[in-house]
């Protein structure tokens, strides 16, 4: 198991949007999915997931519906909305720009100046 990195502020929303954009998930499923797609590299405080989910739903970026979970329990499934998908695209692009910029900045060698 690799050491889990702490989340940068503001990135949890992005990760949740990404997770539910792949497939409708319940809360615990979101947690597992993020762990899975980040190859266990990110450590998400479990409790903080729910306020974030509620906030995203409040903003209309994700929707929710009650359904049956895999082990036949009543569970609340989250799906991404059109607005959510648009937001995810914007944030992904923004993140990539930022990451590229920081990477290029950090990779600078004295010769390149």
């Amino acid at each position: 198991m690799t050491t889990a990195a702490d989340l940068l502020p503001g990135t949890l929303d992005m990760l949740i949007l990404k997770a539910v954009s792949l497939k409708p998930l319940h809360g615990y499923g979101v947690l597992l999915r993020i762990k899975q797609i980040s190859r266990e590299a990110l450590d998400i405080p479990q409790g903080s997931l729910y306020p974030a989910l509620y906030r995203l739903e409040h903003q209309g970026l994700i929707g929710s519906e009650w359904g049956q979970s895999e082990n036949n329990r009543r569970a609340k499934y989250y799906t991404i909305t059109t607005t959510g998908r648009r937001r995810l695209k914007e944030e992904t692009a923004g993140w990539n720009r930022l990451a590229a910029a920081i990477a290029s900045a950090l990779n600078t060698t004295p010769e390149e100046i």
């Binding site: 319940h26 809360g27 615990y28 479990q46 729910y50 509620y54 569970a75």
Partner: protein, 885 residues
Amino acid sequence: MLTRFRSLFLELRSRHDFERNMTEELSNHIQQYTDDLVRSGTPLGEAQRRARIEFGGLTTIQEECREARWLRPFDELVRQSRYAARLLLKTPGFTITALLTLGVCLGANLTIFAVINSVLLRPLPFPDSGRLVTIFNTYPKAGVERDGSSITNYYERRSHISAFSGLALYRHDTAIVGEAGSTERQQISRVSPEFFATLGVGPVIGRAFTEEETSPQTDKVVILTDTYWRQHPKAIGSQIRVDGNLNTVVGILPPNFRFLSSQAQLYFPFSSPLSQRGPLQRHSGGNSRQLVARLKPGATLAQAQAQIDAQNAALEVDDPEGKMLADAGFRSLVVPLHADHVASVRPILLLLQAAAFTLLLIGVANLVNLLLIRANSRSKEMAVRQALGAGRWHIVSEVTVETTLLTLLGGLIGLCAGAAGIRFLATFGADRLPLGNQISFDARLAAVACLGSVALGILVALPIAWLALHREVANTIRSEARGGSANHAAQRLRNAFAVAQIALTFILLAGAGLLGLSLQNASSVSPGFRADHVLTGQISVPWNDYKDWPARIAFDQRLLGEVTRQPGVVSAGLVNNIPFSGNSGKSSATVVGHVLRPGEFARANYDYGVDGDYFATMGFSLRAGRFLTASDSFREQRVCVVDQDFARYYWPHDNPLGKRLFRGPADTDDSRAFTVVGVVGAAKQVGPTETGAQGAIYYPYAFRTDDHVFVVLRTSLPPESLAVTLQKVVRRIDPQLPVSDLQSMDTLVADSLIAQRSPALLAALFSAIALLLTSVGTYGVLSYAVALRRGEIGVRMALGARPEHIRRQFLLIAAKLLIAGTAIGLLGAWSSGQAMRSLLFQVPPIHVPVLICVACVMTFVSLLACLLPSLRASRISPMEGLSSL
């Protein structure tokens, strides 16, 4: 933003479900995690423990979830409202007083605002009604401020004024509707063809009037209102008998069609013979005919006015009367239709709203003082809570929630009171105001009530929150614990509100006093006749059946002969227009030998046609010569009677008897002149407050016939008891003629005072409430001052102070409040008097006796209010006082 409010709304609607679902979702998560841990080999107990720890604090997370949905402020609000409601229920005396005060004050405001909203604010029910205007002729220097418009004006202006997209002429009238013998007299309107198009609302079934229907030969068509049509279902093309003629129904108006204050159920074409459309009739307006026009999009009132002025100027060039018109200051004014229609009542309504608002301020001052006293008794609790870490914001919001809860409940009571108030106002004649038949509650009123209540709640909270925050926490806890002297800031604040209350009540009382004096002056004005024991009724005598004056005089003679034979009738007479009838048309006469002095203008005067024993019946006083008699209509030489004002103006130093005048412009035929044979006392025509002696001329009926006639009869019995007799007599002579407007002259005179009486009564009512509130307020403040100083009083008594010293001390406090309040009140009364100057009748805006009276009343009430507390103070026994330390 919108989605967030929607989501909040949905959650609030199912608050319970939200909580349940959230709990379930979170516990599911923990359960699933536990299951996974167990599956990976952790013992169950350890798995449960780890799952819970890794999940984090459940309550915190739940709270964060609620916050994410904006539910927290709402939860807080609910909690604080519950707390406030509990507190209010614990002190029912305070709560009931506060709610009643608010209910009465807000109710008064909402009632008056309902009238203002319906009369002044709500737009007329026509598309783009702000572009509707009216045009009227004015001859200010001849004493005629407003003279409607003539038929000629209409024909000359329509399609000639480019600023108007439509121009129409209309006249309110009455007609007998129904088969022969029917005596149902209805309000109707006569309108020119463009009328409905100009308003923008026309018949929904059938059609509007056409140009051909403006000729008297082809005008027998009618348009029905929806109301009339529902009561009397008539198909298009069917016929209705009106004034004896069959009229074809050509259109039905939509429901709720309402033109200004008109009650007309039937609309007829405004027809006129060509002879009435010529230049000679240009200035024969008379207030019954009015123009309505619609400004073209983009055109302004000023442009329309300029175009009308230009047209008038061009027409005056070839008018033989041009010079006279210019001397009379003739102009045709273009004014907005709605504003013009309600102009007469605007100032009085605004005054009443100001009075109601003052009442509200007084009530609020009372409420704030009650709340301050209450807050003081809870100051220790507040201080302890603050010391224990309650945030400032929390204290402020708690106070605000409590006051807003109070004002909202008060507003609710106020809404009910307002609904009742509107009905109550109808007894004050509100339904007779222009547009007064449309006074109602609407969404705007409800919104104003709600927003006003909330705003008031926040406003009331300010001083209390300020006090709560500015108290030194440590001091309060200590001083309260020791029962020491009251917080000075709080006492000063309470005193300030008591002073404000006294000052506002002073202003209100002074205003009511001025209105009352106006009413008294108006009702003590002699109308110029004896109104008691006189019955009046109007008979419409159609020209179709009574074609010339001999026929009409014959009818008059027969009627008078039969009426005077009835038991109880002392005398009877006829006139074309009785005083206070609401009709006040004037015309002009030419006095032979009178040369206009430089700067003098041709004057308009009232002119009447009388028959029978009119003067004696009405109780006119004879100043010189004789009254007119029935035989004067047949006399070879024309005679007339003038009133004192007329005689004084034209012949200030000569004997008026034997002087001669022409009705209208001077005539070359000398035999058409009237010789003055009598002078009678001047009578008011419009109402008791009419000023400016216009003068009046009374002609024998043959020379001043009209299509209707008023019967007046003097009786030894109660006048109303003869109404049926009069109707029977008229029906015996001609069953076709209905008698309408049967009223005693006393009623007419009393009704004419309504413009003075209603505001005065309302102001008096407001003042009485204000006085009550102020006395309660002063009482409360002083009682509390006494209660706070029990210990101090006890010490002083123990040290030998006499009861009267203690009494004097508290009376002195009351006197100080009174003097400060009166001083400010005097200033306020001065400015409010100036503001209501135009509404006063023969009363100066600053009336010293009124002010002295008000000061006396205020002193009396304040002293009465502080008597009880100061007596209580002087009866405190030293032991009792000391024990409260």
